[in-house]
C-alpha cells in the first residue's frame, strides 16, 4: 500500500500526482487544493512520469524519527521537465555512485512491512538506463 494515498500512481509506469495551476501554470507536488505560488484555486491534477535529472543527493545513514526502513538510503532532489524539483528517496545509497545531472527514472520502492503484514511503498528515483 502507498505511504499516503494521492501522492503517486503505482503504474506501471508510475507517476507523481502533481498539481498544475490553471492561472500561473506552475507545477507543485504533492498536489494541493490551492496553488502555493499564486493562491489560485484553479489547480489541475497532472501525472508526472519523468525521467528527470539529479539536482542534489546524499545518503541518510541513521534512521530519522518515525522511519522504520533500512539505512543507509539515498536522498536527493530530482528536477523534472515540467519545471518542478522534487524531494525523493534515491535507490542508490552510495553518493559516490551518483553524479549531478544524471538521468533518473521514477520507481516505486518498498519501505517496510506494516503491522498488518502489508508492504508499504513510496515513490523514489533510480539512476536511469
Amino acid at each position: 500500500m502507498p505511504v499516503r494515498h494521492g501522492l503517486f500512481v503505482e503504474g506501471p509506469p508510475p507517476a507523481l500526482v502533481c498539481g498544475r495551476c490553471g492561472t500561473c501554470a506552475k507545477v507543485h507536488f504533492p498536489r494541493a487544493l490551492l496553488c502555493p505560488y499564486c493562491s489560485a484555486d484553479t489547480v489541475d491534477e497532472v501525472h508526472v512520469r519523468g525521467p528527470g535529472t539529479l539536482w542534489a543527493f546524499t545518503a541518510v545513514t541513521a534512521p530519522p524519527p518515525g522511519y522504520a526502513g533500512d539505512v543507509p538510503y539515498g536522498f536527493g532532489v530530482v528536477e523534472l521537465p515540467e519545471g518542478v524539483r522534487v524531494v525523493a528517496r534515491i535507490t542508490e545509497s552510495d553518493p559516490a555512485a551518483l553524479s549531478l545531472d544524471e538521468s533518473m527514472e521514477l520507481v516505486v520502492v518498498a519501505l517496510h512491512t506494516d503491522e498488518l503484514g502489508r508492504s508499504v511503498v513510496t515513490y523514489a528515483f533510480a539512476p536511469g538506463s
Partner: protein, 375 residues
C-alpha cells in the same frame, strides 16, 4: 520611530543541564539582564518569551518565579528565529512609544539527538523524508556546486568556530579541534560529518530593551521575514520547488530590510553572529546576508576575514557549533554575545573596537531574523 537601546543582557550557559528546569534557566538569564539594566519589579511593561519546546505558559513561569507578573507576557515561536521574533515585537513596542521597557528572553530544553519535530507529516517520517540532516546535506552539496566549497572548507568552519568557542565560558564545547578530527568524525549525510552539525541542547538568554538616548548599545534594527515559495531546499522544507534559482531566500529578505531600516550595509559591519546549524549553513549565510558576493563564501572564509583577528569575525562566540542550539534561546544568545562585543567585555575573544554588529538566525517555517546593533 524612537531609539531602542539594550539596557541589559543575561545568559544561562548553553549545554546539558539535567538538574535545572526550563524555568530555572530562564530565571538566571532574566535576573542577570534585569540586574545589568537596573530594572526591578514594575520597571517593564511587557515581556516576550521565545521557545519552541517550553510548553504552555513558559514565559509566565519564569516571571512568576521572579515575582514579576501582571504585564502582558507572550510566548512566541518562530523556529530557530523565535528569539529574533520576540526581539522584533519588543523593539516595535518601544519604538512606537507603546512601552518604555520590555524584557525579552528565550529558553529551551531540547530533546536529545535528532529533533522529532511536529513539523513533518507522518507519511514524510514513514518514507524517510523527515531527515533533517539530509536536507542540510543537500543544501551543502548545492553550495559545493555553486560556490566552490569543499569538504575542507566545511571542516575549516568548524575549526574556526570551535577555536572561538574555546574562549567562551557560556559555550558547551570549549576545546579546539583539527580539520582532520572533523573529517574523521562519523559521516552523517555526505558531505556532513557529525562535528559539522550543531547539537540541540539547553540554555537561556535574556535582553532588556528600553527607550533610549542612543548612548550605550542601540538596537538599530530587528527584522523577521518568512520565505517566498519556490526554493525546494528552503528551510520551509517543501516536497517540491521550481526550477528557478532566483527565489530570494528569507535571510536575504530580512537582511535587506534590516540594512534599509538601519541605514547601514554589510561594509559597515565589524562582527557577525550567524546561523551555523551546520558548517555549510554558515557559508551560505555569508552569501545570503551579502557579506560576500554570491559564490564567494569559500573565498571569504579562506581569506581569514571571518576568523577572530580578521576583518569581519563571524561567530566569535563559537557559534552554534560550539554553543549548541537551544532553539528558543539561540537567537538571543547571539544578541547577548554581540552586545558584550560592542561593550568590549569579551576578553580573549574580543573583536577590537567593534561598533556595528549583526545577528542572523534562520530555521523551520521558514523564518529568518536579522538584528543590527550599534554602539
Amino acid at each position: 520611530m524612537g531609539v531602542v537601546e539594550v539596557a541589559g543582557v543575561g545568559m544561562h550557559p548553553f549545554g546539558r543541564h539535567p538538574d535545572t528546569s526550563t524555568t530555572d534557566m530562564g530565571v538566571v538569564a532574566v535576573r542577570a539582564a534585569l540586574a545589568e539594566a537596573e530594572v526591578g519589579r514594575g520597571g517593564f511593561q511587557a515581556a516576550f518569551c521565545g521557545t519552541a519546546y517550553g510548553g504552555v505558559a513558559c514565559g509566565h513561569k519564569v516571571l512568576g518565579a521572579l515575582g514579576m507578573t501582571g504585564m502582558p507576557i507572550v510566548d512566541v515561536e518562530a523556529g530557530c528565529a523565535s528569539g529574533g521574533a520576540a526581539l522584533q515585537l519588543a523593539a516595535s513596542a518601544i519604538s512606537s512609544g507603546q512601552h518604555d521597557c520590555v524584557v525579552v528572553f528565550g529558553v529551551e530544553k531540547m530533546p536529545r539527538g535528532i529533533i522529532r519535530s511536529s513539523f513533518f507529516d507522518p507519511w514524510q517520517e514513514e518514507a524517510g523524508l523527515a531527515a533533517t540532516p539530509g536536507y542540510f546535506a543537500l543544501r551543502a552539496m548545492r553550495l559545493m556546486h555553486t560556490s566552490g566549497v569543499t569538504k575542507d572548507h566545511l571542516a575549516a568552519v568548524v575549526v574556526k568556530n570551535r577555536r572561538h568557542g574555546a574562549e567562551n565560558p557560556d559555550a558547551m564545547f570549549r576545546s579546539e579541534v583539527t580539520a582532520a578530527e572533523v573529517l574523521e568524525s562519523r559521516l552523517v549525510c555526505e558531505p556532513l560529518h557529525l562535528w559539522m552539525l550543531c547539537s540541540p541542547n539547553e540554555g537561556a538568554a535574556a535582553v532588556v530593551l528600553r527607550a533610549g538616548t542612543g548612548t550605550g548599545v542601540r538596537l538599530a534594527s530587528a527584522v523577521l521575514r518568512s520565505h517566498l515559495p519556490g526554493s525546494v531546499l528552503s528551510e520551509s522544507t517543501p516536497m517540491s520547488g521550481l526550477t528557478d534559482d532566483a527565489v530570494v531566500p528569507p535571510t536575504t529578505l530580512a537582511a535587506r530590510d534590516a540594512f534599509q531600516e538601519s541605514g547601514l550595509g554589510p561594509e559597515d559591519l565589524d562582527v557577525v553572529e550567524c546561523q551555523d546549524t551546520d558548517a555549510a549553513r554558515e557559508l551560505l549565510s555569508y552569501e545570503e546576508l551579502g557579506l560576500c558576493p554570491a559564490g564567494g563564501s569559500a573565498e571569504l572564509l579562506e581569506s581569514g576575514a571571518t576568523t577572530l583577528g580578521g576583518r569581519l569575525p563571524v561567530n566569535p562566540s563559537g557559534g552554534l557549533l560550539s554553543k549548541g542550539e537551544p532553539l528558543g534561546a539561540s537567537a538571543l544568545g547571539q544578541v547577548v554575545e554581540l552586545v558584550r562585543q560592542l561593550r568590549d567585555e569579551c576578553g580573549s575573544r574580543q573583536v577590537p573596537g567593534a561598533r556595528t554588529a549583526l545577528s542572523h538566525t534562520v530555521g523551520r517555517g521558514a523564518n529568518a531574523g536579522v538584528v543590527v546593533l550599534q554602539r
